[in-house]
Symmetry: C3
Subunit: 347 residues, 3 copies
C-alpha cells in the first residue's frame, strides 16, 4: 500500500491544535510502527509502552502527545496533539475511503430480495445477498456479499454488513452498526427443559435488538431471547468470536473483547469491559464500569467499577497478591515442615 500525502494535507486532516516542531519536505508514503519506520513514513506514539522508541524512530513525521519531551532530528517533523491515536484514526479514515470506497447504491444482479421486503433506494446490496419477506433495509446501508436477512428483520441507516453476516427473523439492527463477516445475530437461545431424562427444546420466540453505533465482530454469535429481547446498548463494541446468550441486556459503550462470553439473562450496566476469553455466568447484574480481566470468570453480581480477576472472579488486587503468593507455596510448605519438626523435637 503506497500512499502519497503532503504535510499540508496531513495537517488539514488532523485539524486545529496541532503543534509542529522540525520540518519534513517530502511526501508521506507509508504509516508504520515507531521501530519499523524509515524515511518517508509517518509514525505515532499511541501507547506509552513505546515511549523510548520515539527518539530512535527513523520516521519522517511523528504524531506525539502534547507532553512528549524531546526534539526531532534534522529533516524530521514532530506533530504534537491532544490524542495522537485519534489523529492517526482520522488519517486512516481518509485512507480507508480511498482504498474501500462505498459501492454504488443498488442491488447486485445475483442478489435476491423477496417480495414484500423494502430496500431503501440508497442502500447497496451485494452479490448473493438474500433478503427475506417483510425485511427492511435503511438508507445508505451497505451489504457486501452473501448476507442473509431474515423475515421481518430491520436494518437501520448507514450500517455496514460484511460478507455472510446473518441477521435472523424479527431482529432489529440500529443505525450505523458495523457487522463483521460471519457474525450471527438472532440464533436460537440455548434453552432446554429436562423431561424424562431428555432435553426438550424451549422455543426461543424473542429477538435481538441493537442500539446505534454498535459493532459486532467476525463469527460472533448473539442469541435471540426466549421471549422479549436480547439487547445491545448504543456504542457497544463487540470483538470476534464472542458469545452473547439469550435475554442478555448490555449497556451503552461496553467493550466485549474476543472470545469472551455472557450466559443467559445477565444484565450489564454502561461501560463494562470484558477482556479476551473472559466469561460471565447467567442471571447476574454487572454494574457500570465493571472491568473483567482476560480469561477471568465472573460468577456473581458486581458493584460499580469493580475489577475482577481469576477463574473464580476475585477482586483483582487480592488476586494479584494470590498470584504472587502461590509462587511462594513450595517454599512455604518447606518452611512449615521444618518448623513443625522443630516444635515436635522440643516437646
Amino acid at each position: 500500500m503506497m500512499l502519497s500525502y503532503s504535510i499540508e494535507r496531513i495537517l488539514e486532516i488532523v485539524g486545529e491544535g496541532a503543534e509542529c516542531t522540525g520540518s519534513f519536505s517530502g511526501k508521506i508514503n507509508r504509516i508504520a510502527a515507531l521501530s519499523d519506520s524509515n524515511s518517508g513514513d509517518l509514525s505515532f506514539l499511541g501507547n506509552s509502552k513505546y515511549l523510548k522508541q520515539v527518539g530512535e524512530s527513523k520516521a519522517s513525521v511523528l504524531l506525539l502527545p502534547k507532553d512528549y519531551e524531546g526534539e526531532p532530528r534534522d529533516g524530521q517533523l514532530y506533530i504534537r496533539l491532544e490524542n495522537p491515536n485519534y489523529a492517526l484514526a482520522l488519517i486512516c479514515r481518509d485512507i480507508e475511503n480511498m482504498l474501500d470506497p462505498h459501492p454504488a447504491a443498488g442491488i447486485h444482479p445475483t442478489a435476491h430480495v423477496e417480495e414484500g421486503a423494502e430496500v431503501d433506494a440508497s442502500a447497496s446490496i451485494g452479490a448473493f445477498c438474500y433478503i427475506a419477506e417483510g425485511a427492511r433495509i435503511g438508507a445508505g446501508t451497505v451489504m457486501e456479499d452473501h448476507v442473509s436477512v431474515g423475515r421481518q428483520a430491520q436494518i437501520g441507516r448507514e450500517c455496514y454488513l460484511f460478507p455472510r453476516v446473518v441477521v435472523a427473523s424479527r431482529c432489529i439492527i440500529g443505525d450505523r452498526n458495523r457487522l463483521l463477516a460471519g457474525c450471527v445475530v438472532g440464533s436460537d437461545g440455548y434453552g432446554y427443559a429436562p423431561i424424562d431424562g431428555a432435553h426438550k427444546r424451549l422455543p426461543q420466540v424473542g429477538n435481538v435488538e441493537t442500539g446505534s453505533d454498535v459493532d459486532i465482530g467476525a463469527n460472533t454469535t448473539i442469541d435471540r431471547a426466549r421471549f422479549g429481547t436480547t439487547f445491545i446498548g448504543a456504542g457497544t463494541k463487540i470483538d470476534n468470536l464472542v458469545q452473547v446468550g439469550h435475554n442478555v441486556s448490555i449497556g451503552r459503550n461496553c467493550l466485549l473483547v474476543a472470545q469472551s462470553g455472557i450466559s443467559g439473562s445477565t444484565e450489564f450496566g454502561d461501560g463494562v469491559i470484558m477482556a479476551g476469553q473472559s466469561g460471565v455466568a447467567g442471571h447476574l447484574k454487572i454494574s457500570e464500569g465493571t472491568l473483567i480481566y482476560a480469561k477471568s470468570g465472573l460468577m456473581r453480581s458486581t458493584e460499580p467499577n469493580e475489577k475482577i480477576l481469576g477463574l473464580n472472579g476475585e477482586n483483582a488486587n487480592l488476586m494479584y497478591r494470590i498470584f504472587i503468593l502461590q509462587r511462594k507455596l513450595p517454599d512455604l510448605f518447606k518452611r512449615f515442615d521444618k518448623l513443625e519438626k522443630y516444635i515436635e523435637s522440643q516437646k
Copy 2:
C-alpha cells in the same frame, strides 16, 4: 411482538393437570419476566432464584410449580403445574409456529442442486443453497438460505438447517437435528506429523455422524474423523462456538455449553455436561454424568458423576475449598512469618 391468547387457549396448550387459583378475564398480550411484567402479561417461575419476585409480579397470569405457596391478587390467575418451564415451552412452540411457519416444500429458484443429489419432495431448500452430487435430503427437512451440503452427505428427516450451515462430504445427520446458523459439520481434523521440522498434514478421511434430535449451535465446528467417525449421540445439545475435535465420540443427552471444546479421540458417556468455556483434553474417557464447571479444564478420565472444577480439573468440592483458602493466603503468610520469628527468638 403482540400476542392475543385467551385463558382457555392457554389451558388447552399446557394440558391436563394444571391447577388454577384466582382469575383473569382479559387476553394475554405478552410473555415477560416476573419483574418486568404488567397487566396483560403471562409470566412464570422457572428458576427458584426468582421465588421472591412472584408475589410482587404484576403479570396477569403466572405459571408456577405445584409446591408454590402464596395466593394471587385480585384479577390475577395462578396456574400451578408440574413443570412451569415446560408449560411455557409449549406456549412458545405455539407462538413459534405462528411467527415462523415452515416454508413450503420445494427448491428455491436461486438454489442449486447438482445432478445425482436426492432431495425429498417434502423438503424445503432455501435461497442460494448448494447440494452437491450424491447428497440426500430427507422428508420434511427445511434449509434456510446459503446452506452447503457436500458430496455424498446425508441429512435425515425433519431437520432444520439455519442460514449458511455447512455439512461437508460424507457426513450423516440424524433425524430432527437443528443446525444453527454458520455451524460447520465435517471440517478437517487438526492432525499433523512432524517431518524434518515441518508439520505434514495427516489427511482426514473419516466423517461426522449425529444421532437423532441433536442440536448444533451457531458457528460451532465439528471435525471429521481422521478415519472412522466423529460421533454425536442422540439427544445431545451443543451450544454456539463449541469445538469438537476429530474422532471424538459423544454419548446421548449430553450438553456442551457455549465456547467449550473437546480435543481429539476423547469419548463421552451419556449425560455429560460441559459448562461454558470449559475444555477436555484428548484421548480420555469421560464417564456418564460427569459435570465440568465453567472455564474448567479436564486433563484425565473420570468416574461416573464426577464434578470437575478449576484450570487443572480438580474435584469440585476440593476446588471450592481451595478457592476459599487462597483468599486467606495473604493472612496465612503473615501469620506464618510472625510465628517463625517468635520461634526463632525462643531458640
Copy 3:
C-alpha cells in the same frame, strides 16, 4: 467407507524401509483404531499411550514403530517403519484423492467473477463463489461453494478453500494454503479510541498476508492490521475458532490449537505452540519454541523454549508444583492452626 487395498499397494504407498513380519493374504477394507479393529482392518501405533493395545488388536495389518517388540499372530502382518503416523498419512492421502478428487478446472455457472478479477484457467471456482474486482486466483487453486474473495485480494497457487471462506480486500494468501470452512481472513481489527466517553473506531487499513503451506481452521478469524500487515509465517497450522488480532506477526511452523487467541501487535518466533483455549496478551514478543499449555494465559514476553502454564502464565514446572500443593492447602491450614495454638499455649 469400504476400501480394498492389497498388501502390495500398501507397501508401495508407504515406501522403502518398511520391515514386514508375519503375513496377511486378504484385502484391507478399513482403517481402524487398535482397540476397534477386526480382520480385514489396518491399524497403527501412533501414540505410545496405546502400546499395550497392539498385542490385543485384531487388525490384520499393523503399522508399528521400528523399536516395537512383539510378534504378530497367525494371519497378521506387522509393518515396522520410521514413522507409522506418517505412513498412515500417505495411505490416507491416497484414500482422500479417491474419495474427494479435485473438481475440474473452471468456474461454476452459479459463481460470479467481477470484471477485472483474474482467475487462472487451471483454478476451480465452486457454486455461488464471489470474486471481487481486482482479485487474483492462482493456478490449481480450488474453491468449494460460497467463497468470498474481496477486492484486490490475492490467492496463491494450489490453495484449497472450503465452503464460505472469506478472504477480504487486499489480503494475500500464500501457495498451498488450506482455508477451512467459514474462516475469515481480513476482518477489521478491534481498535477504538476513547473520545468523550464513546469509543471511536480506528479505521483498519492494513491487510493479512500468509506464507506458503499455512492452514487456517473452520470459523477462525484473522484481523487485518491497523496499518501494515498481520502476518502468518510459512508452515504455520491454525485450528478452528482461533482469534488472531490485528498487527500480530506469527513465525514459521507454529501451531495454534482450537479456541486459542492472540491479542494485537504480539510477535511470535518460529515453532511456538499454543494449546487449546490458551491466550496471549498484546504487544509482546513470544520467542521461538515457546509452549503455552491448554487454557493458559501468557501476559509477558518469553525467552526461547519457555513452557507456560496457568491463568497467570507461570513457568510450567513451578505451576505443576503449585497445582499439587494447592490440593494440600486444606491440610496445611489445619496443621498451621494446630501449631499456632500449641505455641500460644506454651507462652
